[in-house]
């Protein structure tokens, strides 16, 4: 592909590299692009990546492993798109995903990305674990298979396979049971939602996953979906309609907010902690849902909610987006975004860092260990906090 064939060939040169894309909620530092925060070379800034992409497509530089690492270090957190003051900002992230797509087409992606995509193709999850084990998380919970209940509870890959994600998936299931919500799950029949696949530039695989999932949901008569992961929520809400998949999609915090507000869930058991909340990118910047998770926390007795300096559309990504919870191009340093984020959480005086995303949960919990903060800060999913408040052990 040349620049003229590239979908954004007529716009990519318009980035001036002014650097607004690096800012958080204000101008407090230039570290809100997770990749730039990690490496601090201009190549890793949003503007640097765009200039490199253009240079690559114009033949000014050659493809290299390093170039691929730089492009795939983008977590698709959307900070650049939200902060860029220029009129083409809506295309910035798409330019990057399209560049990744070009690398996929050429078969020139970092090896962990290749592995990630192959695993999804083979087993429907990035870990490469058997499809037959996808439903193991629900053993002993009494959670039913979906057979026409009001909600399909879509768990996602991290909730289904990651140990910590599985705990959260189970607790959320129990909370929904306790609230009397009519729901069912797909178990071993659940497949990857495709959100990360799309952001890694594998459009064909994404389309296949989306079409299969839509067909499966429609075949089962699904009308309402509640997701554990904001990543699933994002793609099912925003991408699946493009595949004739019109469903009423909620993130679980939105459902819990309504249940608690309407008296459908008793959280009077409370949760005594000073809590700070980390906005997941695919709930926050991607879907502008900043209120529901905070409303759930505020309505839980005993929770004292304190905000980090970077919050809402200025929140720092945990570094797990764009498949990086698995491909891990941003790890291995005190400057890794997850480690920066848990230090910020500690600065608030909170003893609990609340999350609403299984990817963030695993990223930030690992970061707490790496920073040696286990005695000061616990990372909890909001489902776990609510679970404790309504007496679920």
């Amino acid at each position: 592909m040349t620049l003229t064939d590239y979908k954004y060939g007529d716009v990519i040169h318009r980035c001036f590299r002014c650097g607004y894309c690096k800012f958080p909620i204000n101008w407090m530092d230039v570290n809100n692009c997770p990749a730039y925060a990690r490496f601090r070379m201009e190549t890793y800034s949003c503007g640097g990546r765009l200039w490199l992409t253009r240079a690559w497509l114009e033949g000014e530089i050659e493809w290299s492993d390093h170039l691929a690492d730089i492009l795939y270090s983008c977590t698709a957190c959307k900070n650049c798109e939200v902060k860029c003051p220029l009129s083409f900002n809506i295309d910035i992230l798409n330019m990057m995903i399209a560049a990744k797509g070009e690398m996929v087409e050429r078969g020139e992606v970092p090896s962990p990305v290749k592995e990630f995509l192959e695993n999804i193709q083979r087993q429907g999850n990035p870990y490469g674990t058997s499809r037959a084990k996808r439903g193991e998380w629900m053993e002993g919970t009494g959670i039913e298979a979906y057979q026409g209940q009001e909600f399909l509870y879509y768990v996602g890959c991290v909730g289904s396979y990651d140990t910590r994600g599985q705990e959260t998936a189970r607790i959320l299931g129990k909370v929904l049971q306790k609230a009397g919500v009519s729901f069912g799950v797909l178990g071993n029949d659940e497949n990857c939602d495709g959100n990360e696949v799309k952001n890694l530039g594998e459009e064909t695989l994404f389309e296949m996953l989306a079409e299969e999932n839509v067909a499966q949901f429609q075949g089962l008569g699904v009308q309402k979906i509640v997701t554990l992961s904001p990543h699933s929520y994002n793609t099912m809400k925003n991408d699946y309609p493009g595949f004739n998949g019109e469903f009423e999609v909620s993130h679980y915090t939105q459902l819990l907010q309504g249940l608690i507000r309407d008296g459908g869930l008793d959280v009077s058991g409370g949760y005594n902690a000073t809590v700070t909340y980390h906005d997941p990118c695919f709930l926050g910047r991607w879907n502008e849902e900043y209120n529901a998770p905070r409303a759930v926390l505020k309505s839980t007795p005993g929770v004292q909610l304190v905000e980090m300096a970077r919050n809402k559309d200025g929140a720092l990504c945990c570094g797990g987006g764009g498949g990086n919870f698995y491909i891990d191009l941003l790890g291995g340093s005190a400057d890794s975004p997850a480690r920066r984020r848990v230090r910020e959480a500690c600065e608030t005086g909170a003893n609990v860092l609340a999350v609403a995303c299984p990817n963030c949960l695993t990223m930030l919990e690992d970061a707490v260990k790496a920073e040696g903060l286990e005695d000061k800060l616990a990372v909890k999913d909001i489902a776990e906090i609510v679970g404790e408040a309504c007496g679920i052990k």
């Binding site: 590299r17 002014c18 204000n26 407090m28 070379m41 201009e42 190549t43 490199l52 530089i61 290299s64």
Partner: protein, 452 residues
């Protein structure tokens, strides 16, 4: 293995040095029209000590060192014309001290303008600093190194006049301090000790600024901007003179631009007015709009367009997209205020001849002692012809600025040549001696301010 690369790795660590094509490509470019030149290495140090070691290595190996702050000069001042080490200083980003009572801040060289603005707003809301028109990613140190100005230029002058002290890594690797900090006192004044003029305005050719003490100023509770417009450019100098006489304004800018077309040809003023109370604001409004500008309003020569609370922080990067092309560059020159009409007319003519929408702006410095006048030329980064047009327009404007008895601000290589052709020969010779004394191997940002 490249021995210089390995030595750099030993100094800053593997992750903070690169000789790979991607970093060399990015650090070869300025954001303006200057042709790129690739460095051999890109290095991002964290400490003054690391910079010392890098400079010592560069002397030993005779490798150029090109310091880089925000990289927003647009004049190619951090382009590695002779290769060597592109030294990105933005990791040195700690605000070391804010002395509230003595109103100064000590910052490392990578601290951005926006970082200090945000820090002061959150922690010392009654203090502010002079923020330049550049995007807030521009650094404090980079700005003073090029004699920048900001939104307090009218009452307090150039940002480089606000320097209380500097820490410098000399081209030979020694660390020097200047100002009161050099005798172990606080960083509260650069006077009365020997001044720091060897390092300001030299574009990093005489040393690397690693710490700066910059003056802070009172930040009033109410800050806002009033707008005023006249049709006749000949009125601008006298209006600036009268406004500065009031001593009631914080920033006075006159500008004219082709976009939007209905405003083309008009001279717009933005006038910052600040106050601690509505009573004070009302008093200042009366002095500025009624007593000073009222005569123009009443005669129909000028119009008051309103006052808006809150300062519009720089969004200058939007200029880059006027041709949907991602690029612009400007000539800035320190000019006598009386030349505004000629600067406007001749600048507009240059723009129109090069088929570029014109944008000119004059920011008042001091009590109308001078103005920083800028002629801006947008270009399309994807269209080499528009880049060539902009470059030609810039060169013509450099010539124009000197013809009108101005002094080019942060000139690129073309402008530096013009300036040095006109410089007093004894001054030029002194510059040469200073440069040879400080930088015997000629490693610091070579190509810039080179006296033959």
């Amino acid at each position: 293995m490249d021995s210089v690369y390995q030595a750099l790795v030993d100094i800053v660590g593997q992750e903070h040095v690169s000789n790979r094509q991607e970093e060399l490509f990015i650090y070869s470019y300025d954001l303006g029209t200057t042709e790129p030149h690739r460095p051999d290495y890109a290095v991002i140090p964290r400490t003054t000590e690391e910079i010392q070691e890098i400079v010592k290595l560069a002397n030993k190996e005779k490798v150029p060192v090109v310091p880089l702050g925000g990289g927003l000069s647009l004049a190619g001042l951090a382009v590695p014309f002779r290769g060597g080490i592109a030294l990105d200083l933005k990791r040195m980003d700690s605000i070391l001290e804010v002395n509230e009572k003595a109103r100064y801040a000590v910052v490392e060289c990578g601290v951005s303008q926006g970082q200090l603005t945000s820090y002061l707003e959150r922690n010392f809301p009654h203090l502010t600093h002079s923020e330049p028109g550049a995007p807030p990613t521009a650094t404090i140190a980079g700005n003073v190194a090029i004699h920048g100005q900001g939104d307090l230029a009218q009452p307090y002058g150039f940002n480089s006049d606000m320097v209380n002290g500097l820490e410098i890594v000399l081209p030979t690797g020694e660390v020097c301090k200047f100002g009161s900090c050099s005798i172990g006192s606080g960083w509260y004044t650069q006077h009365p000790l020997p001044d720091v003029g060897l390092f300001l305005g030299w574009s990093g050719t005489t040393g690397i600024i690693t710490k700066v003490s910059i003056r802070l100023f009172p930040s009033k509770k109410i800050r806002g901007v009033g707008q005023f417009v006249v049709e006749d450019e000949e009125l601008v100098p006298e209006i600036m003179y009268k406004l500065t006489h009031t001593q009631m304004t914080e920033d006075v800018i006159a500008f004219s631009q082709a976009i939007p077309p209905f405003a083309s040809g008009l001279q717009h003023f933005t006038i910052n007015i600040v106050a601690d109370s509505e009573k004070e604001l009302e008093f200042k409004h009366e002095i500025v709009w009624d007593d000073t500008l009222g005569e123009y309003i009443r005669s129909g020569a000028g119009g008051f367009l309103g006052f808006r609370s809150g300062l519009q922080r720089p969004q200058v990067s939007k200029t880059s997209d006027w041709r949907k092309g991602g690029g612009f560059e400007y000539v800035g020159a320190i000019m006598p205020v009386e030349t505004y009409p000629e600067c406007y007319r001749r600048g507009r003519d240059i723009s129109e001849r090069h088929d570029i929408p014109y944008t000119v702006l004059g920011r008042c410095i001091g009590a109308a002692h001078a103005m920083m006048f800028s002629w801006t030329y947008a270009f399309n980064r994807a269209d080499p012809e528009t880049i060539r047009q902009a470059r030609e327009a810039l060169h013509e404007t450099d010539d124009l600025a000197l013809e009108l008895h101005g002094t080019i601000w942060k000139p690129g290589l073309y402008g530096q040549k013009l300036v040095m052709e006109r410089l007093d020969p004894n001054t030029l010779n002194l510059m040469k001696k200073i440069k040879q004394m400080l930088d015997p191997n000629g490693i610091m940002n070579p190509g810039n301010w080179e006296v033959s």
